[in-house]
């Protein structure tokens, strides 16, 4: 590990959203190559670009990854393709007729091929996570992968060097993404989080002794009907649990192994939820059980109704006074109120989270926020699809590199191994 990752003396740009990096990016200049040998120029270019592209990859590995062939595309106009067969380009003396002097064609932008020198590193999983804005640096992305927070095509992938194939979908645990991209907690928020953790752990150690007794409770009242909607959430949960137990107790031929696994997972969830009365979400559990039951052929057709409240025009507020006041508002104000309530529900204050709540983006992030076109990112679920390998096209290279064509050309020349 080097001494300084973000040095100020000798500028090395990094794949990170750090403010040091931003400052360096704002003042970086291309190296002065006057009176330097070609070798020296190439060496400097290689050192600068490698500090940004895959600095965790060993040089031997990178030289093996390097490819001198560069992918590129040319956007075609389908109207032109239908209209002309290409023979007009061979007219005259073989290279097309000269256009009339008054209508000069627009110069076609050149394709910056050599800006694509580091395209192979963009295929790596950790780099792709950073590019999809799920981590604040490639090193953090690498840590997420190694710690098992990343899935590729639904399966856990622990190798940051995994080379994504076109069509691969990768997802990062949303909580980790919020932690990586959110503002950090201040002192007081950290203390509040510590207190909550301490209380929770104490509670857990107290309730450990009584855990054996807990599964007994639903057995005592198996006559509970799940259709009644006026029960407390706890009671309804317990009845759901007992129903699941009954289903499991039926002879084994009626249930396949997969269904049994589903039911057991459901039971576990219910038990966990019963332990924490604050997070009772009977609706979601109800729907989960309903789904399992629906998939079974032999299941009794119980009328499982989700006890979700009807959605009124006026949002439900805590006190009747507030409710009465809300009823007097006009439609736009109501909409604003509803949006604010929705926002508060989606982004609540929660000291147990490792980031500042309500969540807000970390500082200095916006200057680094861009998503290259070879990725399709869905931020809501913190998942992205690697569509294709990055390509160069006229006027645009898809590999995000902080240096210009000259430096990238020199670096590319270095790896051609003709020094």
């Amino acid at each position: 590990m080097r001494k300084r990752f973000h040095g100020l003396k000798r500028i090395k740009l990094r794949q990170s959203w750090n403010k040091y990096n931003l400052f360096n990016l704002s003042r970086v200049e291309p190296p002065k190559n006057i009176e330097r040998t070609f070798f020296q120029q190439k060496w400097t270019a290689k050192a600068l670009t490698r500090a940004y592209h895959g600095e965790t990859i060993r040089e031997k590995q990178w030289t093996r990854m390097f490819r001198r062939t560069i992918r590129s595309v040319v956007p075609m106009d389908y109207k032109m393709l239908a209209e002309k067969d290409g023979s007009e380009q061979a007219e005259g003396r073989g290279s097309g007729l000269d256009p009339p002097p008054d209508q000069k064609p627009k110069p076609f932008p050149r394709t910056p091929y050599l800006n694509m020198t580091y395209a192979p590193t963009e295929r790596r999983l950790d780099t792709a996570i950073f590019r999809a804005l799920f981590a604040s640096s490639t090193r953090q992305a690498r840590q997420f992968v190694v710690h098992g927070y990343v899935r590729v095509n639904g399966k856990e992938m622990i190798y940051p060097g995994y080379q994504l194939n076109p069509g691969d979908m990768f997802q990062v645990e949303p909580d980790r993404v919020l932690y990586a991209t959110g503002a950090p907690k201040d002192r007081f928020e950290r203390r509040a989080g510590r207190k909550i953790r301490a209380r929770y752990s104490k509670k857990a150690s107290n309730s450990e002794g009584s855990e054996d007794a807990e599964p007994q409770t639903p057995k005592s009242d198996p006559s509970h009907e799940p259709t009644t909607t006026d029960k407390t959430p706890k009671e309804s949960l317990q009845s759901l649990l007992s129903q699941a137990k009954e289903l499991l107790a039926t002879p084994s031929t009626s249930l396949t192994a997969k269904r049994k696994q589903d039911l057991r997972a459901f039971q576990r969830t219910v038990k966990r939820t019963l332990g924490r009365p604050k997070t009772l979400t009977a609706t979601s559990l109800d729907s989960q059980l309903a789904e399992i039951v629906a998939r079974m052929i032999t299941a009794p057709n119980t009328g499982l109704k989700s006890p979700s409240p009807p959605k009124p025009e006026v949002p439900v507020l805590s006190t009747p006074e507030l409710q009465a006041e809300a009823a007097t508002l006009d439609s736009t104000q109501l909409k604003t109120l509803r949006d604010a309530l929705k926002d508060a529900r989606e982004n609540p204050v929660d000291p147990s989270k490792p980031y500042a709540t309500p969540w807000r983006p970390r500082e200095w992030m916006s200057a680094f926020a861009f998503v290259p076109r070879y990725l399709e990112v869905h931020q809501r679920v913190c998942a992205a699809v690697y569509l294709r390998h990055p390509v160069a096209r006229p006027g645009l290279a898809e590999v995000p590199t902080p240096y210009g064509t000259e430096i990238n050309t020199l670096a590319h020349n270095w790896y051609l191994r003709r020094r």
Partner: protein, 388 residues
């Protein structure tokens, strides 16, 4: 030798009369310093904090409703396009100001290699209302979308807005349109359409399971990126959908003499490069668009064109179905399934010859006696290469 005691730096911020921002910084964050380690204050570090609190302060928080890249600001931390707007307002009328924005949009098309249609109706809407008195901020130009000042060949490109993603999902899943049709109608690459459908399905699944959805994160990030809006009856092209990949064989320059009288077409030129190389109209992703345009040139009326296209699509679907059927038949022939209570067993016939002459073919199954492993060799990839 006695242990060396490092002398504290003479140029500590407390000892020197420092710029006001620095003082502020220290007083606010920590009241007392218990550390005896000298504060590492160098000239560059001071400069950095001066920049971060001065011209660089604009990057601390996102610019509401716009991107916020380094290249959009001058060295004093002023937004270049906002500056232009003020100058323009002093000199000319408001109407002329709007024209100027239009020119900017036009310039974008010229510089860009992609086909980006002009969006005259969107320009006024795209501006940002800063305050009630000030006029809207003009849309970003090419220059403003460059996150790296040294690299002018890289730009932050537009992403799909949530509404556009919803529209794509709706058209494919609810209306049952083909990916090809949706791609051509909305100007979104086919692979991207597929990815959006997949990701939206994942979102719905997670919603159903009651897993947390990162709404606040999505809103914040999409606010920092340039995005393509969804206009239901006049879709804005998101990207060029007819990208022709450059073939390896065409990278060389060939001098090929032909007689002057010969009608030398694209197809002929392709054959010169490589015998197998097809012409561009057959290699682009949307060949059906080219075909439609050709029918138009032949003078076919619209009803006829639509009928022909329907026929072509039906034929395509049928050939795909036939292939799928064949694949299934072959699988059923080769694979024997035995369903038990606990699991399903699948038996497949394996041929010994599939290992090949060297015994190292990937199709080969099982360990071969006497063939040493290659996994300790240099350059062998030992981590998974694909996840099914």
């Amino acid at each position: 030798m006695p242990p060396r005691i490092r002398r504290p730096y003479l140029r500590t911020p407390q000892a020197l009369p420092s710029p006001s921002h620095r003082c502020q910084c220290i007083c606010k964050t920590r009241a007392r310093q218990f550390s005896s380690t000298p504060k590492h204050a160098t000239r560059v570090r001071d400069e950095m904090f001066r920049w971060l609190n001065g011209p660089g302060f604009v990057f601390r928080h996102p610019l509401p409703g716009s991107t916020n890249y380094l290249n959009a600001y001058d060295r004093y931390g002023r937004l270049v396009r906002a500056k232009n707007r003020l100058v323009g307002k002093n000199e000319k009328e408001k109407a002329e100001d709007e024209e100027k924005i239009d020119e900017n949009a036009d310039e974008e098309v010229n510089e860009d290699g992609e086909i980006v249609p002009k969006k005259p109706q969107k320009i006024k809407e795209a501006g940002i209302k800063e305050t009630k008195n000030e006029p809207a901020l003009p849309r970003e130009t090419m220059e403003d979308l460059m996150p790296f000042p040294l690299n002018r060949q890289f730009r932050s490109q537009h992403v799909l807005s949530e509404e556009l993603k919803d529209a794509i999902y709706e058209r494919v899943m609810a209306e049952g349109q083909s990916v090809r049709t949706v791609s051509a109608a909305l100007g979104v690459e086919m692979s991207r359409v597929g990815a959006v459908v997949r990701l939206k399905a994942l979102e719905k699944e997670m919603e159903k399971q009651g897993k947390p959805i990162a709404f606040s994160y999505a809103k914040a990030v999409l606010g920092m990126l340039p995005s393509t809006p969804y206009v239901p009856y006049a879709p804005v092209t998101h990207e060029s959908i007819n990208d022709l990949p450059v073939h390896r064989a065409t990278e060389t320059q060939i001098f090929h003499p032909v007689s002057e009288s010969r009608h030398f077409t694209r197809r002929d030129a392709g054959k010169v490069f490589d015998r197998e190389l097809k012409p561009a109209e057959e290699r682009v992703p949307h060949t059906e668009l080219v075909q439609l345009e050709k029918w138009r040139h032949e003078g076919k009326i619209e009803v006829e064109r639509i009928r022909l296209q329907r026929e072509m699509e039906a034929k395509d679907v049928q050939s795909k179905k036939a292939l799928e059927r064949k694949r299934k038949e072959r699988e059923a022939r080769e694979m024997r399934k035995v369903d038990t209570e606990r699991s399903e067993f699948r038996f497949q016939d394996i041929r010994v010859e599939s290992v090949g002459r060297s015994g190292r073919s990937k199709e080969g199954v099982g360990a071969r006696y006497g063939i040493p492993h290659q996994d300790r060799k240099k350059g062998q990839i030992k981590i998974p290469m694909r996840v099914a």
